[in-house]
């Protein structure tokens, strides 16, 4: 029985798959950035100049081209984050946790964008910045879920534990998303009505749909770029810390 502890430094990049991921991500990022900028500019062009003025809502409705894709991504990114968190727990894969951690800020940002654009739009449409309608409320809860995720991660300074604990929270929150979503039926729904009447104008629908889709793909590419950048930073930070400790600093 012998302690073979010779203190050869752990190669962190070898233990977690980040090693291969890091350069790959580096190559992807520039393409995503270019695509994102191009599509968002094109989408805004369609939204601001190509789409005709709405005869009911005037020019204000153009905010829809930011609002709707942002709202979609706020929810989509949460589910994605929960998925990565779950994978992390099952496979105990560091990279998965890092992905989840990196997605959260972008998701929260889109949530905030949807909320802000929504209430900017709400003032002329409903005469109030905010109403307690199911759609709006569910979006607000989503923001709180993101905030909870950050807060928990910030409060635990053992990285390993922070990863796992916040992953559990993300998963639990994901169960909650559909519950909140279906509560729409049981509530006063100012938001739905407005959107439906808008979508009835048939001439506009195709242009609008095109604009929103272009914006959505642009947001998607943007998200990928930002998330990859964040993961790369995270890998570097964790790696340099590991190196620092092994040098006995």
């Amino acid at each position: 029985m012998k302690n073979l502890d010779t203190k050869t430094s752990i190669n962190w990049l070898k233990y977690a798959s980040p090693k291969t991921f890091y350069p790959l991500a580096g190559k992807l990022i520039p393409w995503c950035v270019i695509g994102a900028v191009g599509l968002i500019v094109y989408g805004l062009y369609i939204g601001l100049f190509v789409a005709p003025t709405d005869f009911q809502q005037g020019e204000g409705y153009r905010i829809i081209f930011v609002h709707v894709p942002a709202a979609w991504f706020s929810m989509f990114l949460y589910l994605l984050m929960a998925m990565y968190a779950g994978l992390g727990l099952v496979l105990n894969a560091r990279l998965s946790y890092m992905m989840a951690t990196a997605i959260a800020p972008t998701g929260a940002m889109f949530t905030l964008v949807a909320l802000v654009t929504g209430s900017l739009w709400g003032k002329p449409m409903w005469g109030a910045w905010w109403v307690w309608d199911a759609r709006l409320t569910s979006e607000l809860i989503l923001l709180f879920l993101y905030i909870g995720y950050f807060s928990l991660q910030a409060a635990i300074d053992d990285k390993n534990r922070a990863d796992k604990a916040s992953a559990v929270l993300a998963l639990v929150g994901a169960i909650n998303v559909p519950i909140i979503y279906f509560s729409v039926k049981w509530w006063n729904t100012l938001h739905q009505g407005a959107s439906v009447s808008l979508m009835k104008a048939p001439a506009m629908a195709t242009v609008m749909l095109k604009g929103m889709l272009v914006m959505a793909i642009g947001f998607w590419l943007y998200s990928i770029a930002v998330i990859l950048i964040r993961v790369r930073c995270e890998i570097l930070e964790r790696d340099s810390k590991a190196a620092m400790f092994n040098l006995g600093l």
Partner: protein, 213 residues
């Protein structure tokens, strides 16, 4: 003691221990059979507590496997806990309950019932006769430790994992505990322990493992 009659083996297989981002021990291997005391040594912060918690399944090793009687403790899960008694830095007693209540609850957790008489006898033997009806909050540091240690006399489990068990004990209690450890090993129990005090134990197999920074 019937529960010590069969053969038990605890094997550490290439254990790697990491806390935070720091490597504590690497490629640790050992095999402990009936009657062995493994005495962990090492300066403060070298990973003794971490290793003990890994052995009893509270922490997962960064790499490597702990085996109990040929099976990975991870897959044994609760089955493994039927065999391990762990006493760590923290006493694991409720300050609002009396020594007796605490002892009975500890035993219940491992699925054992015990008569009040028998429990009282052990507590008296440990010099706690006077404090039996006090909430343990009112006991001194050393008395609390004695309450926590009382389980060693009653919980019939074949593997003990003890983190600095002599802390805060006076001379008298120290010698009682030492005798108990020796008796247990002589009957075939396995013990993994650490302490910064000098110990000489009269046991069948005494192995030392030094963790170093």
């Amino acid at each position: 003691m019937g529960f010590l009659a069969s053969n038990h083996v605890l094997i550490a297989d290439n254990l790697v221990g990491v806390r935070g981002e720091r490597l504590l021990f690497e490629k640790l291997n050992f095999e402990l059979s009936n009657g062995t005391v493994l005495y962990l040594q090492g300066a403060n912060g070298t990973g003794k507590t971490t290793l003990l918690r890994t052995i009893c399944g509270l922490s997962k090793p960064y790499a490597g496997v702990v085996n109990w009687c040929g099976e990975d403790i991870n897959s044994l899960a609760e089955e493994y806990f039927k065999h391990v008694l762990y006493i760590g830095h923290l006493p694991g007693i409720k300050e609002d309950l009396t020594a007796l209540e605490n002892l009975k609850f500890s035993l219940a957790l491992s699925g054992k019932a015990i008569s009040a008489n028998q429990a009282t006898e052990v507590l008296n033997m440990l010099g706690l006769a006077k404090g039996l009806n006090l909430p343990t909050r009112m006991l001194s540091q050393g008395q609390k430790r004695r309450v926590a240690l009382a389980r060693l006399w009653l919980q019939e489990l074949p593997l003990w994992v003890l983190d600095e068990p002599f802390t805060a004990l006076d001379v008298n209690a120290t010698s009682l505990l030492k005798q108990k450890i020796e008796a247990f090993a002589n009957e075939g129990g396995i013990i993994v322990m650490t302490t910064h005090q000098e110990v000489t134990l009269n046991v069948p197999k005494f192995e030392q493992l030094r963790l170093d920074a």
